[in-house]
Structures are given as structure tokens and as C-alpha cells.
């Protein structure tokens, strides 16, 4: 994904504080306005590789059924397919989760919640786009309320196509995600911070009721 050419002048260096213009003056004091910074990998390479291996084998998925794809997550987590075998677990709170599954189409209203959840997750964090509708809109390409390309709003590490993707496809997707994490290719959280302005501009173009802080710590 080559985004640098689309990025209209990254002026992060000049930026000290987020504006949080969507909030009222009273609320602005309640929220953090620090600009997110990318995290550094461990300085020793073998430590980083070790941690990547650990991360790959302990994937905590945020239990957030954003769309119809959530219906295939139930068989995935239960006895027929049992993703627990591979260290995939559901966590009910974004603070503790490391994988966000965007299950199918996301309407604009849900996208706002997806962004909030994603920003509250602690890095390294990974995003799986599930279903064709996250890739290019799929069946809802002309719907006025669903976004078409998910990776314009949050960085996506892996897409699983299909409508619906079967649980086997999801398992294969998790395996592929593990491979990518082990290889150190999943740096979505850092990409998000680096291209912060581009992502925010895209998000604000779609979400018209922006009554939340610019970055949800």
C-alpha cells in the first residue's frame, strides 16, 4: 500500500497538540490532546523477534461484532473450529485486545466506534478486514451509509475476502496474520501514527458528527 504519494505534506513536526475541535471547551479539558507518537521496536533484534513470535501466538481479538461477519466468528470460537487452539482469544475490552476484526461492511456510524476502539487498543495492534465489503464495498458499493475501502480509515494488515468467509478461511487468515507478525511486517499502528493527518482527513470527510477527541487515548 503506497500512501506516501497521496499524503498531502506531513506536518507532524510542527504539530504540538491536537485541536480536538469537535469537543466543547468543557470537554476539551477532560481529554488528552497529546499527539500520538510511533513506538520503537526493541533495540536488540533477537528480543524483537522473540516478542513477535509471542505476539503471533497470543492474539487477543476484540469482541466487537461490527457487521454480519460476526456470525461466522461464533463457530470459529466454539467447538467446531476452536480457534483457542491457536492462541486466538476474545477480549471484551479494547484496552487489552491486540487484534481488531472489522467483520464485514461498516456503516458510518459504526466506523466512528471502530476508530475509537482501534485507537484505544495498545500497540502493537493488528486489523483484519473480513469480507469483500471491507475491501471495495462489495454488495454495498453504492450504499450511502457504508464505507468502501477500510484501509483509508484505519490501517489494515490483512484482508479475508468472501461473503461470508467460511471459518476455515478465517483460520487460514489467522495463520497468515501470524506469519506476517512473525516476519515483522505488521506495523499498522506505526503507519497509522505516521500518516495520522491523512487518516484523520479521510475519517473526517466521512464522519460528519465528530464529537470525540481527535485521538482517543
Amino acid at each position: 500500500m503506497n500512501k506516501q504519494d497521496k499524503n498531502p505534506g506531513n506536518n507532524r513536526e510542527n504539530l504540538i497538540k491536537l485541536e480536538n475541535a469537535g469537543l466543547t471547551a468543557e470537554e476539551q479539558q477532560l481529554f488528552c490532546d497529546a499527539v500520538p507518537v510511533p513506538y520503537e521496536p526493541y533495540s536488540l533484534e533477537f528480543v524483537e523477534r522473540f516478542h513477535n513470535w509471542i505476539r503471533a501466538n497470543s492474539l487477543w481479538v476484540l469482541a466487537f461484532g461490527t457487521g454480519c461477519g460476526a456470525i461466522e466468528l461464533n463457530p470459529l470460537m466454539t467447538s467446531r473450529f476452536d480457534a483457542n487452539r491457536f492462541g486466538v482469544m476474545m477480549r471484551p475490552t479494547p484496552r487489552q485486545a491486540s487484534v481488531l476484526i472489522v467483520a464485514g461492511y461498516s456503516s458510518v456510524k459504526t466506523l466512528k466506534r471502530i476508530i475509537r476502539s482501534y485507537e484505544q487498543m495498545q500497540g502493537p495492534k493488528f486489523v483484519i478486514g473480513l469480507g469483500i465489503c471491507t475491501i471495495n464495498g462489495g454488495m454495498y458499493y453504492d450504499s450511502y451509509n457504508t464505507i468502501n475501502c477500510l484501509d483509508r480509515y484505519i490501517p489494515v494488515d490483512l484482508y479475508i475476502t468472501g461473503c461470508m468467509p467460511r471459518p476455515e478461511a478465517l483460520l487460514a487468515g489467522f495463520m497468515e496474520l501470524k506469519r506476517k507478525i512473525k516476519a515483522g511486517e505488521c506495523d499498522g499502528a506505526n503507519r497509522y501514527v505516521k500518516d495520522f493527518d491523512w487518516y484523520k482527513a479521510n475519517q473526517k470527510k466521512v464522519i460528519k458528527k465528530w464529537d470525540m477527541p481527535d485521538y482517543n487515548w
Binding site: Y39, E40, P41, H51, I54, R55, N57, S58, W60, A63, T78, S79, D82, N84, R85, G87, M89, R91, P92, T93, R95, Q96, S98, Q122, G123, P124, A189, W217
Partner: protein, 306 residues
């Protein structure tokens, strides 16, 4: 004994109990998975989880108390373990036992929860105080039968030293408190159901009601501390129950076997039961278990034979 050596032995004990607690946790998770028809997590998964949470590269704090919460919690776990002789007669696993250690241990069991309450309260998430209120209410309730059981044990052995209690139970299986004072054991096991946070008493982390309660906002290294504590604390609690009621252990395999067997009781009840509401839970603990506890004390008072 040299104090430096004793601290070294304590650290060894903590590590052993930590590893054992994590393995036990994975084993229990696998057992529950088998009941549900699944294979379940690999046996080494809890270790990976701890390192994974520890290895998160970002963290957000909500204030000093928030930072201190997991520390308090871990202190509670370590403190509990510090005064329980894990293996009877062993120099390495003997820990800092002294004449009144049982009283101190009972204090430490609840210390961690209170500290956690302070920390989670500052996280600002509405589910956290809700979980704390539930947890503290339930804790107050199950403390009654547990305290009564421990009082009965005091009266039976006329000592507050865990080592002496274990010593009194040696020799034959019929010397265990389980057989000499069955009412106290029954009351204590009821309390243990509440302590171990499996259904029907998993109110604090009830996933469908207040997902996952107090630690909602805890993440990264904070969560790693909490996970460590969970393993140590579970191990310490099990060892305490084993010492008080099931004759203690003279070597490691016996300890593993007995604690595992004790732990299976709440687990097997847990997989087959729905969850109580908090008022039902309190009502439950103040009912039959408390009555059994009182009977245990009366039994010791009037018919007790030591």
C-alpha cells in the same frame, strides 16, 4: 536460618508457585474446554499471554492510584504466599512461618482486593466500580463462613500457626481436618467457591453484564502484573486450603495432586452453572454456608475431640 538464604528460598518458592499456577490455569482451561467439546488452549498459552501483555509497546495511565492498583494486588498475592509453608518440613518451601501466620495470611488474602479496588476506581470506566462493588460485597459475604471455618480450626488445634496445624494432621489420612472437623471444611469449601471466581460466583468479571469488571482499563504491563498475581494468588490460596484442611503436603507431587483436586471442585461446578446476581450470592453465603460454619464452631466447642 540466614535471612538472605531465606529470602532466596522465598523467591524460589514464588517462581515455582508462579509456574505451577500458570500451568494449573492452562490445565483448568483445557478441562473446561473438554466439557464444552473443544480442545482448548495449549498448555503453555498463559506464559505467552503474560509475555505478550508485557511486550506491548504503549501504555496509558489514569493516575497514581491506577498505577498502584496492580502493585497492591501483586503484594497481596506475594504476601499471602510469604507466610504459607508450601511443603511441610521442607527448608526451601517453608517460607516465613511464625506462630500467628494464619491471621496474617487471612489479612493478606483481602489486602490485594482492596488495593485493586482503589486502583480500578481511578480508571474511570463505569464497569470498574460496578465490578468492585460486586466483588467487595461478595467478599464480605463469603468471608463469614470462611472466618467461622478458620475459627473452628483454631479451636481444634489450639494454635494459629499453619505449620503446627499441618503437623497435627500428619500420620494418617484420618488425621486430616477433613475427617476430624468436616463441618469446618464444608464451610470453607463453600467460601472457596466464592473466592475462585468461577460460575455461579463470577460476578466480578461477568462477561455479559460488566465485561470484564475491574480490570477493564488495565492493559500492557499492568495486566501482565495482574496475570502474574492471578497465578501466584491461586497457588497460595490452594496451598492454604490444602494445609488447613487436607493434611498439607510433604513433597511436591503430593502438593500438585492435592491442589489440583481441590481446584477441580469449583471448576466442575463452574462449567455447569449459570451466574448468580450479587444479592443472590450474598444471600447464599449468609445462609447455609454460614450455618455450617456456626455448626463447626459449636461442634468444636462441645463435642470436639483433639
Amino acid at each position: 536460618m540466614n535471612w538472605a538464604l531465606s529470602i532466596f528460598y522465598y523467591i524460589v518458592t514464588v517462581l515455582v508457585v508462579l509456574v505451577y499456577g500458570l500451568l494449573l490455569y492452562a490445565f483448568i482451561a483445557k478441562t473446561m474446554a473438554r466439557v464444552q467439546g473443544r480442545i482448548g488452549i495449549p498448555i503453555y498459552q498463559p506464559f505467552l499471554d503474560i509475555i505478550q501483555t508485557y511486550g506491548r509497546r504503549t501504555a496509558v495511565t489514569h493516575g497514581y492510584m491506577f498505577d498502584l492498583g496492580p502493585v497492591f494486588r501483586l503484594t497481596g498475592g506475594l504476601g499471602t504466599l510469604a507466610f504459607i509453608p508450601v511443603i511441610y518440613g521442607s527448608e526451601i518451601f517453608g517460607n516465613f512461618h511464625f506462630a500467628g501466620d494464619l491471621l496474617l495470611v487471612m489479612y493478606f488474602i483481602f489486602f490485594g482486593q482492596l488495593g485493586m479496588a482503589l486502583g480500578a476506581g481511578e480508571s474511570g470506566h463505569p464497569y470498574a466500580p460496578m465490578g468492585i462493588a460486586r466483588g467487595l460485597a461478595q467478599m464480605t459475604a463469603f468471608e463469614v463462613p470462611f472466618a467461622l471455618a478458620v475459627i473452628a480450626v483454631f479451636m481444634q488445634y489450639e494454635t494459629a500457626s499453619i505449620t503446627e496445624i499441618v503437623a497435627a494432621q500428619q500420620g494418617s489420612i484420618y488425621n486430616w481436618t477433613l475427617f476430624t472437623n468436616p463441618f469446618a471444611v464444608l464451610a470453607a469449601m463453600f467460601a472457596f467457591l466464592g473466592m475462585s471466581m468461577y460460575p455461579p460466583f463470577d460476578l466480578v468479571t461477568a462477561p455479559n453484564e460488566i465485561p470484564i469488571g475491574p480490570p477493564t482499563e488495565y492493559h500492557s504491563a499492568y495486566l501482565s502484573l495482574l496475570q502474574t498475581n492471578r497465578a501466584i494468588f491461586a497457588g497460595a490460596k490452594l496451598v492454604l486450603f490444602m494445609n488447613l484442611f487436607f493434611g498439607g503436603a510433604t513433597n511436591l507431587p503430593i502438593m500438585v495432586l492435592k491442589t489440583w483436586a481441590i481446584y477441580m471442585i469449583p471448576v466442575l461446578i463452574g462449567v455447569a452453572f449459570p451466574r448468580f446476581k450479587v444479592e443472590n450470592s450474598i444471600r447464599f453465603f449468609l445462609g447455609v454456608p454460614t450455618l455450617v460454619g456456626i455448626i463447626a464452631v459449636l461442634y468444636m466447642q462441645y463435642w470436639g475431640t483433639v
